[in-house]
């Protein structure tokens, strides 16, 4: 089972990276979700699937073949944190769209960053600039 899980995690990570490399920010956000899922599977796989029962104990004693509780505790919080991260990414996506009207990753950088003031063409600094700017619009 561990091998299947490891391969699954690998395939999911592949898909996730493929999505991250997409031009569209929507897919990038989905990539974050998919990679998160893959990592959660990987962490659990690292703890092995030796148990046949859930990690619950009783007054009678510890069950012989309980599954490993530590990775489960780690993954449980990771899921919630991953969700908060996902919403944050989603918020960035939404804001980018509202501000720049684009969701293409490489375009966003171009739109968002102004030239350094020193590098601005001198035409803009001269008094005739307003007319010039009007013309460009």
């Amino acid at each position: 089972m561990e091998i299947i899980a490891a391969i699954t995690a690998g395939i999911l990570v592949s898909i996730g990276v493929w999505l991250l490399l997409d031009r569209n920010l929507v897919r990038v956000v989905l990539g974050v979700v998919v990679i998160g899922n893959a990592i959660n599977i990987a962490v659990l796989t690292g703890g092995r699937f030796n148990g046949t029962t859930a990690p619950f104990t009783s007054a009678a004693g510890v069950p012989e073949l309980a599954s490993n509780p530590l990775p489960q505790a780690l993954v449980l919080t990771a899921i919630v944190i991953g969700f908060a991260l996902f919403v944050f990414a989603l918020a960035v996506l939404k804001r980018t769209w509202e501000l720049h009207g684009t969701t293409a990753t490489d375009r966003v950088t171009e739109v968002a960053e102004d030239d350094a003031p020193d590098l601005a063409p001198p035409a803009l600094a001269t008094p005739s600039a307003p007319a010039d700017r009007e013309g460009r619009r």
Binding site: M1, E2, I3, I4, A5, A6, T8, A9, G10, I11, L12, V13, S14, I15, V17, W18, L19, L20, L21, V26, R27, L30, V33, V34, N37, N40, I41, A42, T45, G46, G47, T53, A54, P55, F56, T57, A59, A66, S67, P69, L70, Q72, A73, V75, T77, I79, V80, A84, V87, F88, L90, A91, V92, L93, K94, R95, W97, D106, T109, E113
Partner: protein
């Protein structure tokens, strides 16, 4: 010694406010700090001159064996007296010189800061401490040169000085570390020549240390920065760039001479570079017409001669070294200050406009005359003894010394000419065409030069006093063995005296023929065009262009290329790591039996993710993502992780809702993947490689045995130690509660950040009655009881979580989903009203409860977050339960906060 330093540092800290309160008179008070240091040094003279040393040591970085240890021997005392003595005069002088400058306080602070650093440098016994002080002097020099930073020339000069001396400083650090490692000692006083000179690293140490010293002391080809540093105010030039800082390099050479000076390479390098520097400085000095630049170039000459004298390592040479340091600091400090006064009084430093100043400034003129005689090396001044001993030391050395003697005769003759230029041209002869009518300067401005110049005269006349108290112990500190020190003005007709006579006649000849010489020099104009300064500018430009190209290569602004490179590099390294990994006990790894349900979950997850990657329709995307998450949940459930599976289902539900809410406002996706098919293939390769590396790492990690028995410990101690049957929950709220506290803090922060990004609260508070999709009356009627049930269920999950599947995380998510349906069905205002409490406040209360639960442990004198239990009536209640409530509220608050903001903005 630390007290002396501390006193100066305190003066530095109070300088700006004192200066504001007392104006220029603050200088009188501030000068007390270096004066106190000077007096203290004087009281140490008896001890040191009789061969003793004063030691002080404080642990600084004990782990690295770095100590703040100070050691006062003859050499340190000589430099210490110069630093504090001249420092006192300079502080007084600066008060008058810059009296009308609006940043005088800042100037005092920089000056005193430099003084402390320089004093620390000459007193430090620890290699690393010396380096730190060394760099501090470079930084303070940068600040002082750029003091008039409105001036582009000053800025350029400051940067040039910093880059050259700082670059040399880096080499020095490497050299000192090698030195310390080679000798296995980090104190100068415990270094031994046998350990250093015989070591295999000696050549490397030599080159690195010399680089540091040569840059600091402006040796060819690093001499560029010193003349340019004259852009600084004159007190700075007098203090840093003639008397003290530039001598730091020579100081270190002298300090290391006993342990490193035994090799032929040391002597030859120092003599060759020193002689070249001296010659270059003297020749260039004569081409200048600006008094300060003349002085700067003669300083370069002197530094070259000093370097050379250490290289001789003869008794006369080392005596000449010590005498010359003293003589030069006195007369050059005096000349610089006097030139500052001339500048102050007449408004110019150009030789061609000066002349006849003795009528207006007799006191300054007298000081300049005395200093210039010492500079020229005329008897009975101290400079004369220095020159005599210099020749004697070189002649002692043999053939190499004779060649350098010739060089020396020429440079000293040129120095004499320069001295003549400074005194005769500016003070005697016809009255010059000054921009301003000159006047004698105030008392503090002539006191400094006069004191130093008279000092030079007295030391020369009463040279046995200097010998007994100062020179002897300093020479012993520099020399490799005991040296017989004896100073004299007249030692009979020796080769040195003949060389002296030659120098003087040559110098006078050069002065008389100076116009012819200048004309002759201008004829070789092609030579003067090979300016190091221009080369420096070109070099700097190249460096910037090169750096820009490198930066452009990596900072191209394309997010996708960054990710691709990152993924590619990490997969390569991961695969390399897998290939080199040891400890694989079984291959293929021993695995548990295949679970069909888990496999089905895997297939569902892969299918969902694949569909999300391939499809364009927004609804399909949301569905595919949901399918992927549900597949993962199924997998969790099948491998006996019920808590994780429930959390995953809840989160997946919320993910789908949030995704759908955002995506419906965005345009449809245009293209799948990249337009460029070549780039697409590249991305495909990167993704597949990364996935392969991921799987390979995972397989390798499970191929070995699971280390330790952590799982068993948690299982065994959950019920007895944590009073809970649900081991996962006990780990979260008890055993590893501190982790969980950090994690809910992350969730809270991320949600607040995301909520702010999603936008503020909508202006329209009413009129939002939910989404029209939920317009059906039947549906709406169903929602309310359902939400109520969900809230109840969430509380139940929270309560039973310690023993059965559930807990704060799951409960919080379920409660959040109840509010999600309410907000969707009835609108956010209604949901807010039903919640009654502002979500961020909910987050705050939750975090406070969780942290407060930890404090209970503290009350019981246990570590933070230790659990405490009471059992009233058989019902076990403990701080972990309170902690879980905190988790519940934080998660609920975070989710609801984000959702409300998103929906309000939508409306």
């Amino acid at each position: 010694m630390l007290l002396t330093l501390a006193f100066i540092v305190v003066a530095m800290l109070f300088a700006p406010s004192l200066s504001r309160a007392l104006d220029a008179r603050a200088g009188w008070l501030l000068a007390l700090a270096p004066l106190a240091g000077f007096v203290w040094m004087l009281t140490q003279l008896p001890v040191v001159s009789s061969g003793g040393v004063v030691l002080e040591s404080y642990a600084w970085v004990p782990a690295l064996d770095v100590a703040l240890s100070f050691r006062l021997d003859g050499l340190s005392l000589l430099f210490g007296l110069l630093v504090t003595g001249i420092g006192t005069l300079i502080v007084l002088y600066a008060g008058s010189y810059l009296s009308d400058h609006h940043h005088l306080g800042r100037f005092y602070a920089y000056l005193l800061g430099f003084m402390a650093a320089m004093l620390g440098l000459v007193l430090a016994d620890d290699l690393i401490a010396l380096f730190v002080f060394w760099e501090l002097t470079s930084v303070m020099s940068f600040l002082l040169i750029s003091f008039q930073h409105e001036n582009a020339v000053s800025r350029r000069a400051a940067l040039q000085a910093l880059l050259i001396t700082g670059g040399g400083g880096l080499a020095l650090l490497a050299g000192l570390i090698l030195l310390g490692t080679a000798a296995d000692s980090w104190q100068f006083s415990t270094l031994t020549a046998e350990a250093v000179e015989g070591h295999v690293l000696y050549p490397a140490i030599l080159v690195l240390v010399l680089l540091g010293c040569f840059t600091k002391s402006a040796q060819v080809p690093f001499h560029l920065w010193l003349p340019n540093a004259m852009a600084a105010p004159t007190p700075v030039s007098a203090y840093l760039h003639s008397a003290t800082m530039v001598k730091a390099g020579v100081y270190l050479l002298a300090r290391l001479n006993p342990v490193m000076g035994g090799s032929a390479g040391w002597g030859t390098t120092l003599i060759v570079f020193g002689a070249a520097t001296a010659l270059v400085g003297a020749v260039l000095a004569l081409r200048q017409t600006d008094l300060k630049r003349i002085l700067a170039y003669t300083t370069v000459t002197v530094l070259g001669q000093l370097t050379m004298l250490i290289g001789t390592n003869t008794a006369y040479g080392l005596q000449a070294f010590v005498i010359y340091i003293l003589a030069h600091s006195l007369y050059k400090g005096a000349l610089f200050m006097a030139v500052g006064s001339i500048d102050h009084a007449t408004g110019t430093r150009e030789l061609t406009r000066l002349g006849g100043l003795i009528r207006f400034m007799p006191l300054t003129g007298a000081a300049v005359a005395l200093a210039a005689f010492s500079n020229a090396g005329l008897p009975p001044f101290f400079g004369f003894i220095a020159k005599e001993f210099k020749y004697a030391g070189l002649i002692e050395l043999g053939p190499l010394g004779w060649i350098t003697t010739v060089v020396m005769i020429v440079t000293n003759a040129l120095l004499l000419t320069a001295a003549g230029l400074i005194f005769i041209r500016s003070f005697l002869g016809r009255q010059g065409a000054y921009p301003r009518h000159p006047h004698e300067v105030s008392v503090f401005m002539w006191l400094g030069p006069m004191t130093l110049a008279i000092g030079g005269f007295l030391l020369g006349t009463f040279n046995n006093v200097a010998e007994v108290w100062l020179v002897n112990s300093a020479v012993q500190a520099v020399a490799r063995g005991p040296v017989d020190v004896h100073l004299y003005l007249w030692g009979g007709i020796t080769p040195a005296v003949i060389a002296s006579l030659l120098t003087i006649s040559l110098g006078i000849l050069a002065y008389v023929k100076r116009h012819a010489m200048r004309r002759w020099m201008t004829r070789w104009h092609t030579i003067w065009q090979i300016s190091g300064d221009l080369l420096w500018d070109r070099l700097l430009k190249r460096v910037f262009i090169f750096a820009g190209q490198i930066a452009d290569r990596f900072q191209h602004g394309s997010l996708r290329q960054h990710i691709a490179l990152l993924a590619l590099a990490s997969s390569v390294f991961a695969l390399l790591g897998v290939a080199l990994a040891g400890g694989i006990t079984a291959w293929p790894p021993v695995t548990s039996p295949i679970s069909w349900a888990a496999s089905a979950g895997c297939i569902l997850a892969i299918t969902g993710a694949g569909a999300a990657a391939a499809m364009r329709d927004r609804i399909a995307l949301v569905t595919a993502t949901g399918a992927c998450g549900l597949g993962v949940a199924l997998f969790f459930l099948a491998i006996n992780a019920p808590d994780v599976a429930i959390t995953q289902i809840m989160v997946e539900t919320l993910t789908v809702i949030f995704l759908a809410l955002v995506l419906r406002k965005l345009p449809p996706l245009q293209v799948v993947g990249s337009r460029n098919s070549k780039r697409r293939r590249l991305h495909m390769v990167v993704s597949v490689l990364f996935g392969l590396a991921f799987t390979a790492v995972l397989l390798t990690s499970i191929a070995g045995p699971l280390p330790g028995d952590i799982a068993a410990w948690y299982l065994a101690n959950s019920l007895p130690g944590g009073h809970g049957a649900n081991v996962v929950n006990v780990i979260l709220v008890d055993f590893r509660a501190f982790d969980t506290l950090g994690e809910i803090l992350v969730v809270a922060l991320a949600s607040i950040a995301a909520a702010n990004m999603l936008g503020g609260r909508s202006a329209r508070k009413d009129g939002n009655n939910g989404n029209p999709e939920f317009g059906s009356v039947l549906l709406r009627q169903g929602i309310k009881p359902l939400a109520g049930v969900l809230i109840l269920v969430s509380v139940a999950l929270l309560w039973r979580g310690h023993n059965l599947p559930g807990g704060g995380f799951i409960g919080g998510l379920v409660a959040a989903s109840a509010l999600v349906i309410l907000a969707l069905g009835y609108g956010v205002p209604t949901a807010r009203k039903l919640l009654r409490i502002h979500p961020p406040r909910l987050i705050g209360v939750g975090l406070a409860l969780a942290a407060g639960a930890g404090l209970i442990g503290l009350l019981g004198q246990q570590p933070f977050l230790s659990s405490a239990w009471i059992a009233p009536g058989g019902l076990a209640l403990g701080s972990p339960l309170l902690f879980d409530v905190g988790v519940f509220l934080t998660v609920l608050g975070s989710m609801v906060h984000m959702l409300f903001r998103l929906l309000e903005k939508e409306a």
